[in-house]
Symmetry: C2
Subunit: 349 residues, 2 copies
């Protein structure tokens, strides 16, 4: 065992020698390309087993120009430099992240591909990620880009790296993307609140630098306007639970008679719920709360959140599929896949 571990790893050459054939033949057997005489195949397989041969993927990548890795880039707005805090803490704590990862794995499962994670939360990190990709460390990139001003998608496009985005960029690029019809999601929330007879409603939006946040808010506003409600208190949040608490508290202070709240994600809705509980407001009797995402946060507390579902896993899986398709057919034109939000009615509204 230890003597095996010490000597250098066996190569194609070794296998070929043991099997009494050429390197090319061994390669053919391994890659299942062209017909190879069954007897020889068997001999090669035995030689592989005997030598404990494992192909070296660097050597293979060098010639095939494929790495077997796909980058999953989380490209956020620049994170504040809080030295005592951990890198990307807030991003990774959001259930959204886990759902994306889960969806990516679902899309990748049948294949021999693995996602390499990159965090591009600063100009420096972004450059590093770009360099990494340029060096050919991954065959393509999936980018969850939150902020509108994020230059990364355009840079990837310019660098000729196969890329698919989660979320449409603010200005159309010829890159494929998957996204939710966020505006429609906002409308759904508004319609539901209105149908429940709520007229003194407010919104806790996400950061307005994020397109999805803007779209949800404007959809909500539009639909409310359609219902004759033009006065709409609004607080901008940052998608964290803490900020949802802060926003709800502020809203409650300024508009004590609110009877409905739309939060742009479940985490903030959950924060709102906690603050409402502290203020002894009954949900949904006194005030209805509707969230967005249908993440695990929706059913974490009581009451369970009524929410606008964003099928993140499906979207991430689709993003992966689209990227694989681009890899398989390099010429393919960029496509946009838009998912439809749906209302998940639970207890809070």
């Amino acid at each position: 065992m230890s003597s095996e571990a010490l000597k250098r790893a066996s190569t194609l050459e070794d296998v070929a020698r043991v099997a009494g054939v050429s390197r090319a033949t061994v390669s053919r057997v391994i890659n299942g390309v062209r017909n190879v005489d069954p007897a020889i195949q068997e001999a090669v397989r035995q030689a592989i087993a005997r030598t404990g041969y494992v192909p070296n993927s660097a050597a293979r990548s060098l010639v095939t120009r494929r790495t077997g890795a796909l980058a999953l880039v989380i490209s956020g707005s620049d994170a504040p430099e809080t030295p005592d805090h951990h890198v990307g803490g807030e991003i990774f704590a959001d259930p959204f992240f886990g759902r994306v990862v889960s969806g990516v794995f679902t899309g990748l499962r049948p294949l021999d591909l693995h996602p390499v994670l990159m965090l591009a939360d600063s100009a420096e990190a972004r450059d590093k990620a770009l360099t990494y990709l340029r060096q050919g460390n991954a065959d393509g990139a999936m980018v969850v880009s939150t902020h509108s001003r994020d230059p990364l998608p355009a840079q990837l496009l310019a660098a000729g790296i196969p890329t698919v985005l989660f979320g449409r960029p603010p200005t159309p690029l010829s890159l494929s993307c998957v996204d939710l019809d966020n505006r429609e999601g906002g409308r759904i929330a508004a319609d539901h609140l209105h149908a429940r007879g709520r007229h003194r409603v407010a919104a806790i939006s996400g950061p307005l630098g994020v397109r999805a946040a803007r779209d949800r808010l404007s959809g909500f506003r539009e639909a409310m306007a359609d219902h004759g409600i033009h006065q709409l208190p609004h607080v901008e949040g940052d998608f964290t639970r803490e900020d949802g608490e802060r926003a709800m508290a502020s809203l409650l202070r300024r508009y004590p008679d609110l009877d409905g709240v739309f939060a742009a994600n479940d985490l903030m809705a959950q924060g709102a719920l906690a603050v409402l509980a502290e203020h002894r407001r009954r949900v949904p009797e006194d005030i209805a709360v509707i969230g967005f995402d249908d993440s695990s946060a929706a059913t974490a507390g009581r009451p369970h959140l009524t929410t606008v579902r964003q099928p993140v896993e499906e979207m991430a899986a689709e993003m992966t599929r689209v990227l694989l398709d681009h890899l398989a057919r390099p010429g393919r034109a960029a496509t946009t896949v838009l998912f439809e939000p749906t209302l998940i009615e639970r207890q809070s509204a």
Copy 2:
């Protein structure tokens, strides 16, 4: 721009020709090895800029035997095959996962290394991961192995792949690992509950196939026994919120006069809290609840959870550092870094 994109990527050779030097010199400049005449250095830099040269990492890996990637393997017990469900959904939904990722990034931040994610939740996936690692796709592996019977750590050891574990294996292997003193954590929970005057307590443990879960429970039991409490209702959970709800409901049914509960993680504690709220039990007045982890779930609902803190981010960062150290000094002996749990006192107990 497009003409740039079309022609093949420039190589060291191209840069060398443009700069009027040899490949070796360009390589030296890029890697900053040995002295190179400043004038030549400058010429090389210009040539690099002019040609838009980016080193090909496959070629580099082939000779250096380094890839610049570290595997982060989530090796769980075999996941049930639920076709409609998404891969690893539960694992990735757990805040624990995000915290590990965050810690890994913290440990990796200054370096040009990226984590590649692998999910080994079935024998097949485990084999794939092992093969991937054997092929040299990553320089080393960090393994979050939950289940006791997981053969992966031993396999990695046998394959000679530099590996660090999050969580000690059931039988000691000569692999480095970082872990929490879970037994002590259980004791801390018990001591606190006892100090609060709770005598009719129960435990919601994690899956007993997981060493950490067993240790937390036995530490809790031991300390309770020290306090003269030998009768200890116990329900085994699976670390999910839903299971925490189920466990709490079952406990409440069987032992209606409980005045204290220890849950082996915050997610289950959160579930317990929700069920207690539904049963109109006041926390902590009627029944005290203490969680474990100090994850974001601890402050998600109301009341905030009193919990035993596990510094997951620090542990993951340390795991990364230990792996890097093993990579830098191949001969290094395996070490175990044990972290101490601390009590975080909030409202629930």
